[in-house]
């Protein structure tokens, strides 16, 4: 597991008179919950469908989950700092459009405009929050609509196709049977893990979520850290947009619609609470797998598509119900 990420309170017996022993056992259940849920899903779907537990389906799940994973890695930082970003789906669409418009001339290097557009969109969000002091929920809700609007304005609703051979080769081919997109996702996961657990920036993000006033008075450059964090999320959404565009071989105005909900759900189901101060890349990966497997497995098992949303929503609420630490939050709003 990761070092120092979740509350370390659980390791030490409590000296203040709070229920120590039982709490830590319960804590263990909570921390193991995402993994337990993942195992449960795999077992259930394996029984329900013979095609579920196959290598080819495994690759499909990984491919489906990569876009979600890349965006959710960035969201882990933002949620860990106690903020939110509702515009990720729109940034993904914006980046996919940038990719599609430049892929013919730049080839694989179209990743540069994709990242640049994503980072710029994240920069706007970060500045609105950190400098403009607009609450992130509102700022990014507005941004969600505006960024999507820009995509609509550019495309007039028509898809922009990607045909460049070199581009598609680089981002959709396989090496040793593993799709390149999955490799990119795994590399980014390692990088995100390193940033959260090994860098000063990662600690500062966590400190902002743990107690922003404390962080400010201790001299942490809170505004700057918040902006960097949104730029990082934007850049990751840029890559996610490129991968999504490459898979679909086109950018459309609808691409990434509703993605923000899956991204937030994946992070939260993975055990990173919306209250901030705590965050785990491994948890986010588990959350992404749970969200992706749930859709994939229900399709495989032939669950009525009209029923699927009800199951997904229920799983999300149940996960939070079990993992949320009510002792720390006190009043739930």
């Amino acid at each position: 597991m990761e070092t120092n990420v979740t509350s370390i309170a659980t390791k030490t017996p409590n000296a203040t008179g709070e229920p120590g022993v039982n709490a830590s056992r319960f804590e263990f259940v909570k921390r193991g919950f995402p993994l337990a849920m993942l195992v449960l899903l795999i077992v259930t779907f394996s029984i329900a469908s013979p095609r579920f537990l196959t290598f080819s389906n495994f690759l499909i799940v990984l491919q489906q989950g990569t876009v979600l994973l890349v965006a959710a890695l960035g969201m882990t930082f933002v949620i860990m700092a106690g903020s939110i970003d509702l515009s990720v789906g729109s940034i993904v669409a914006l980046a996919a459009l940038a990719t599609a418009l430049t892929a013919d001339s730049l080839g694989a290097a179209a990743i540069i405009p994709a990242i640049a557009v994503g980072a710029a969109a994240g920069l706007v969000n970060g500045v609105l929050l950190a400098k403009g002091k607009v609450p992130s929920f509102i700022a990014t809700m507005g941004a969600m609509v505006v960024y999507r609007g820009i995509v609509l304005l550019f495309t007039r609703g028509a898809p922009v196709s990607i045909e460049d051979e070199q581009f598609l080769n680089v981002y959709t081919n396989r090496t040793l049977g593993i799709p390149h997109s999955v490799i990119i996702g795994l590399v980014l996961m390692v990088v995100a893990y390193g940033i959260i657990n090994r860098t000063v920036f990662g600690r500062e993000v966590r400190a902002i979520g743990g107690g922003e006033r404390v962080a400010i008075l201790t001299g942490i450059q809170v505004a700057r850290v918040k902006i960097y964090m949104y730029v990082l999320l934007g850049a990751l959404c840029g890559i996610a947009g490129l991968l999504q565009g490459a898979r679909a071989m086109a950018a459309t105005a609808q691409l990434g619609e509703g993605l923000e909900l899956d991204v937030i759900a994946a992070v939260v189901v993975g055990g990173t609470p919306l209250t901030g101060g705590v965050g785990s890349v491994v948890g986010t990966m588990l959350g992404v797998l749970i969200i992706t497997l749930l859709s994939n497995g229900m399709n495989m098992a032939g669950v009525d598509p009209y029923l699927q949303n009800i199951v997904k929503g229920t799983v999300l609420v149940c996960a939070v119900f079990v993992t949320i630490d009510r002792r720390k939050i006190g009043i739930i709003k």
């Binding site: 509350s7 030490t12 203040t16 022993v21 000063v200 600690r203 743990g210 404390v214 201790t218 001299g219």
Partner: protein
Amino acid sequence: MTLAASDLRKSYGQTRAVDGVSVVLRPGMVHAIVGENGAGKSTTLRMLAGAEPPDSGVMTLDEASYAPPSVVGAAALGVSLVYQEITINRSLTVAENIFIDRLRQFAGPLGFIDRRRMEAAARAILERIGAQISISADTGRLNLGELKCIEIARALSTNPKILLLDESTAYLDHREVQAVLRVISELKGQGMTVAFVSHHLDEVLAVADELTILKDGQYVGTYRTTEIEPNEIHRRMVGRELARSIYPPRPPGVPSKPVVFEACEVAVGRELGGVSLNVRAGEILGLAGLKGAGAEALFAAICGDLPLRGGSMTLAGSSYAPSSPTSAWGQGVAYLPGDRHNEGLIADFSILDNLVMARPPHHGPFFDRAAATAIAGDLIAQIGIKTQSVDSSCRSLSGGNLQKVVIGKCLAVQPRLLLLNNPTRGVDIGARTEIYRIVRQKAAQGLAVILSSEDMPELIGMSDRLLVLRQGQITHRIETAADATEHDIIGHMA
């Protein structure tokens, strides 16, 4: 009514919070319960008030068995509790706050609240306790002492025979403490039985008839306040002979070291209107004053949290105008805020995380955990933070230990100027002694310290020089703090 409890016990998990405490509250007497942090004072009071059931022990009310199921149940029997925390809702009126759980009793036939009747009832209670609070006052503008009086009025509105006050004055300043003490004396004059928990021995001796000392959850004894000396109380609370003074000796000789920090006609917000002061290396400068007198605003400006409205500052001889706390810390100014929990540290984080928060050791962008562990281990040993490991969560620490962590966080940056805002608020005497020792030791090594405190003995005992603030102005300068008297300081404060 006589409320008696014998051999009360209460455990939380492995910890025995209260372990065999007996106490008798006799009619018309003011009874104080004293002890260090974690002695079991609040738990005892909460059991008497029905807020928590004891694990074992017997409680009787006028010799009848007494086992209230809840605070409401206890109130119905005539025992009322005032909580430690302020529970006033500042968006409601004074009267609404007093009757918050019984608004229904003022409902008219159509279900609307009869405001006039409610306000008359509220006014009657406030008059009874002699509180100078207008019924139409804006609760958002009242000070903590006034809010506490409203809480007391709320507890009295159920017509109790016995009033229990939990640690009522822990966060109140001198003027507010006096207001609460006046209310207690007033109630005592009316024959009310009052029991209260307190850290402050002076207030105990001022109003209590009897006092019960607890230590580590155990009962030490009950005494008449006229029969026991303050030193003796201290000794029994701590359980060992205290050194003659809890304040370390000042270094001999007049400090003639260089001036580290100087403020010239500094004005901040509406609170501080042009003060000039300086502090030398190795010196502890004390700031006395009521809340809002300007010390907080001055600290906010020095630590870069608020901009100057006028004046200028110099640090180590060159112009100093921090644009943010980042800039202040970067130039060697460390700030210990007055609110440990919301501003001083992040309780959910480990001791190590908090200790190196201001200046994390790093190689390029990467956090250097080995160096951080060494720094944290060194600070823990130096300051005497009691913990098993640097990775323990701060949640497991007591108030005194938490404050030592905040001090460690400040010292970790090896500051040249240290700002202490009420560094021992809610800290027990053992931890206080250690905090005083480390601060004096660092000063002896050349650190300049500005200490703002509501605790008069602390200011007199720790400071080399003292300034008294009133309404944003310096009203008095005391060059040798050791010769100052509380009376003298208070005279210039209010």
